[in-house]
Symmetry: C2
Subunit: 280 residues, 2 copies
């Protein structure tokens, strides 16, 4: 049974196109409208079956939508959601897929036209790759999507949770601020650390890089502009995570500098315990 | 054509057993003697075809060997190589597979019985996993093995290089000290960073861990005791790498704290350029 007559997706990159593919594969939507600024990118998404129709006109694209998912870079989400809210039907619900939530959700809760119909979301299923061509219909399966109502939330919350659940996600509900603190530690810090490690590596040593360097720096391939936006929007929590990490790093340095073998092994073992708890 | 009549492998973990499998698969050795302290581990290696015969008696195990590869933890390599040298035939060559080279090669170059017949090696093909059961016959294919002669090197050097080449490795020759500086940056630092990142993560955030955290911390699963030995043996170079990294991390922190978007994106882009240069 169709859950939605018309779903509009604003921004058909990796996440947006994967949502479209998942909706179609599962028969959850009658029409899927892809909305973006770049006609050839939209055509790529249409050709691969991620959307059924495309337009560069946001107002026209959302005019008949029952659900709109805004999948644009985090710095654009607030203005895109407001533009969507001004043009979509009264009954329509709006969510997003941004990696930060505090700034976005606070802004949108402050406006009457978005307070009741927008619910923030963050599917934890990104990749260092970007673009519709890397989209996967099973991208959200078994992955966590965090849904972040403001205050008590609205009637829209369970519907947005049901949406991500219908794509195979494990839905976790958190406040926008709790979300930002958690993803600073679990996602934004790994990116910053991977990037710093890659940047600190001398070019002439790269020919010796094996699996360790390669795994540890993989996410540093992510789009620099998108990540700059994410880090700045989540500035406070990321700075806290950086400082917490720097303290642990200083402990490692001290143990190594003083050849405190027992302490060094204890620190290495603490890292191993956390990593092993996750599995491969 | 057989390259070696008898090869002895001291320590049949992931690396030692993979050497055995590669030698057998390529028909490069008549006999492969697995030497270790733990009889049941040796039996595992024999049962999987990594060695043709096993013994817990090092002297007996190397008595007829033409080549001995010491694959024990780095803190043990020097004493194991000296014990091997005292018991093997005069014509036999000895190498190792340790992740540090300066300390080991300096020690062994200072003794007449090992100076001419030992050549240090480091196959850059480890894994966060350990144990013979994770051995692979193609572990060294397309991977770099660094061979580290001391001074001018001996006649043994080209033979040891030919050995790793025959297993499919790309051989790179470096001095022990240049090796240690390079691997501090490309291998030991990623481990230390991954471990510090994992250790700094709160347990309650782990349920949200996605691909980014998982990739960035993967190597932290490595054996804590082995890595403690490696970091301490390569103390000087690792501390230099830690300080270089900490400086780049401080640059990131400063750019983020001051909301210097241009600088932050420049740093992220520098990391991306280095990572993209490697490929996936």
């Amino acid at each position: 049974m169709r859950a939605w007559e018309t779903v509009a997706i604003v921004g058909v990159g990796l996440i947006g196109a994967s949502i479209g593919l998942a909706l179609r594969r599962r028969g959850l939507a009658g029409r899927i409208v892809g909305i973006g600024r770049n006609a050839s990118r939209l055509e790529t998404a249409r050709a691969m079956g991620a959307v059924t129709t495309v337009t560069t006109d946001l107002d026209a694209g959302v005019a008949e939508a029952d659900l709109i998912v805004v999948c644009t870079p985090v710095a654009m989400i607030t203005s895109h959601v407001r533009a969507v809210a001004a043009a979509c039907p009264d009954h329509a619900l709006i969510t997003d897929a941004g990696s930060t939530k505090g700034f976005i959700c606070r802004q949108l809760a402050a406006h009457a036209d978005t307070a009741s119909r927008f619910v923030g979301s963050h599917p934890m299923a990104g990749s260092e790759k970007s673009g519709a061509r890397f989209a996967q219909e099973d991208l959200f399966e078994q992955r966590v999507t965090i849904v972040t109502p403001v205050g008590g939330g609205s009637d829209a919350v369970p519907q947005i949770e049901a949406f991500w659940d219908s794509l195979g996600s494990r839905v976790v509900r958190m406040s926008p601020d709790a979300h930002d603190a958690a993803v600073a530690a679990i996602s934004h810090m790994p990116h910053l650390i991977a990037s710093a490690l890659a940047a600190a590596t001398a070019t002439e040593d790269l020919r010796l890089a094996a699996g360790g360097w390669s795994d540890t720096t993989r996410v540093a391939s992510g789009d620099a502009e998108l990540w700059r936006q994410i880090l700045i929007q989540n500035q406070g929590h990321v700075l806290q995570s950086v400082d917490k990490f720097a303290k642990v790093l200083a402990d490692f340095r001290e143990a190594l500098a003083t050849e405190d073998a027992a302490r060094l092994e204890q620190l290495l073992d603490a890292g191993k315990q956390k990593r092993d708890a996750l599995g491969s």
